[in-house]
Symmetry: C2
Subunit: 398 residues, 2 copies
């Protein structure tokens, strides 16, 4: 029997999704399990999107253009123009989720064995796409004490070698919720320009900024227009993760024409998802206002409640719907497993994502967890109460 | 400005899709263009699939399980059992089109710089996925004189080196329409077993077998159960190319668990497409009978009409909906371009896919084209009449 590949062995398991078997274990025990581990929002998909799907008037569900339907790309361009990002439909390739946009960006811009720098903790699947592309993610550690702000620019520069091809940021950040400031982006611009790097900017959580904070897009950094590759997704913006529609956007025509070759090989992005995505651009403004109010309230509740638990520290992030909290535990992976396999409180337990899966420096994040506040406040309340009780009972408490 | 990657430069353009700009050129001239170049069937998607989409009862379009919805995998398993392929839902990973199944198979089973053998002409996008995975496709030439049958097994064995990890077949074949016999599959089994290779079997056109011929699946080769990776797709079976739903199926648990890590990194296959795919399993038998009658008639018309054109030779393939025909031209790429840019007959022209794009041996297939008979006979008639006139007028006729 032939054996699997080196890349297969190197491929990291998802730190979030590998918990699913434990979850099934928990369900078998008949307990309520609060999923704080996964970024699946409970926010309804906009009606305009659902109705577009229900009203499809197709006889044949055909391949679309490999770059996505022209009508959708035009509509997407108008969406970007509306938020101050000046691009045209020719600067956009519609992808199968933001995931594929990241993969196409890496495949098109980075050679095998070359490196892309990011701040850690970082979105764990960047590692998966890096293994697929045969490249390496080089981490620069950000710290909970600074709310996971951009590490000092000197720390980033120290990691730049002849093999460095780019920097990837996620803004607002998954897993930390940190929203990069204009000042931080301008610092990144300088080193990107000086070292002639690509700047991959994953802005899937752009719409999720709180406390009146404004999102500053890497696409608006002047002087590095050809260096910036925007990675985007409709998954979170319109709470339609399942449609698998994202986009790669850049003013670098060479990157567009190269990424198009990867796009052609996989023929087309999902046709039905594109219909949903195109209709979603017309989502009324009130939808976002309401979602923002809801997440702000959830974040405030969550952060306050976490910080009231003895030994817990949680920053108050300004974006996305995640936070990385420090817990008084020996090892958050053991703690997460124990929560599912051994613990219950009022017939409830909680799933959290151990933060170690979001670091690539070994040993980092061992007392941290990523928490997604994607549940109603009522549920969050029960979840946090359960978490507080669990921390009292956990044998590996420190 | 940083430059694109080596893989980006190596990535082959799609031999079918790169013609699209010419097509736009042709349209600008106001001509009718018959698309014989692309495998986009005009057959209606089954009503059960369209209705399932129209009746979606979701509030949130969520991520599915990374391996696909459990309900769909169970239904798929019953589909396979119904056609004599004995697999369970745990042997199946639902993918984003057959494309992703091929990529996951290559990534999971083949190391960078290792080789996979196939007969040429072959589905050109295998090259694209090979570049993505950093592996090499090694061709063994099949010949139009033998209807593109499996090359002599000694020819295949000659290509086996220490770097060979597998063989990929497409059965029925795209681009040739050739349907491999049980005898040919048993020959492949022997060398796969002897050299402990993976056998990747792309059976996306399984339902398209004519003249009463029976499809023999590689999954039913006994003694190499752990070597066979089935790649499948609903695109052609149910004429729903746009849903982007395929599957990787294998009884090799190590490959399943490795491919799952790639599947987790991209989160989930399309949710809406899975709803269509699951409903499609209930497509009534008469649908397939009618489709088979239609394609048989188209093939018969097409092959007969092509062979009546002086200097043209076209085999009568038993499967899929393609045929590779030999034309009396100097270079089919020039001919295809000339058809679009220079020619018209009764305000019509034709798009064909130059076969050279399906060969990797340089210079091969220069006087061959792939023709997809995915149009109604009425249109095929006009298309072939136009092609015949074009061959009279083409300056590079030989």
């Amino acid at each position: 029997m032939p054996s699997i590949s080196e890349k297969g062995r190197k491929m990291p398991p998802s730190p979030i999704r590998k918990l699913v078997p434990f979850s099934e274990e928990a369900k078998r025990k008949g307990r309520i399990v609060y999923h704080l581990n996964i970024g699946q929002p409970d926010i309804p998909t906009p009606d305009v999107a659902l109705n577009a799907i229900r009203n499809i008037d197709l006889k044949v569900i055909e391949y679309s253009h490999s770059a996505g339907n022209e009508s959708y790309r035009c509509k997407l361009a108008s969406y970007y123009q509306g938020i101050g990002i000046n691009v045209g439909s020719g600067d956009i390739i519609v992808t199968t989720g933001g995931s594929e946009a990241i993969l196409f960006a890496f495949m098109s811009c980075v050679n095998p064995d070359e490196e892309v720098i990011t701040s850690e903790p970082f979105y764990a699947n960047y590692n998966g796409f890096a293994v697929t592309a045969g490249i390496n993610i080089v981490p620069v550690t950000s710290h909970i004490e600074n709310d996971f702000a951009l590490p000092p620019i000197e720390e980033i520069e120290k990691r730049i070698t002849s093999r460095t091809r780019g920097i990837i940021i996620c803004n607002p950040n998954n897993p930390t919720g940190y929203l990069y400031s204009e000042k931080e982006l301008l610092l990144l611009k300088d080193i990107v320009k000086e070292h002639d790097l690509f700047l991959f900017s994953d802005e899937a959580y752009r719409e999720f900024c709180y406390d009146g904070a404004r999102h500053y897009s890497a696409m608006n950094l002047s002087g590095i227009e050809k260096n910036v590759i925007l990675v985007d997704s409709v998954s979170k913006r319109y709470s339609e993760c399942g449609v698998r529609i994202g986009a790669l956007i850049t003013r670098n025509r060479e990157v567009i024409s190269t990424a198009m070759k990867f796009a052609q090989a996989r023929l087309s992005p999902p046709a039905l998802g594109q219909i949903a995505g195109e209709a979603s651009v017309d989502t009324p403004h009130e939808y976002f206002a309401e979602v923002n109010r809801e997440y702000t309230a959830r974040r405030n509740y969550m952060v306050d409640a976490l910080n009231k638990i003895p030994g817990v520290y949680c920053p108050r992030p300004k974006g996305a719907f995640y936070t990385v909290a420090r817990l008084p535990v020996d090892d958050s992976e053991n703690f997460a497993r124990w929560l599912l396999e051994e613990f219950e409180y009022k017939n409830q337990t909680v799933m959290v994502a151990p933060a170690s899966g979001f670091y690539s420096t070994p040993g980092s994040g061992k007392n941290e967890v990523r928490i997604a506040y994607v549940l109603m406040i009522e549920d969050l309340k029960n979840a946090i109460e359960t978490l507080a009780e669990a921390l009292k009972a956990y044998p590996g408490k420190v």
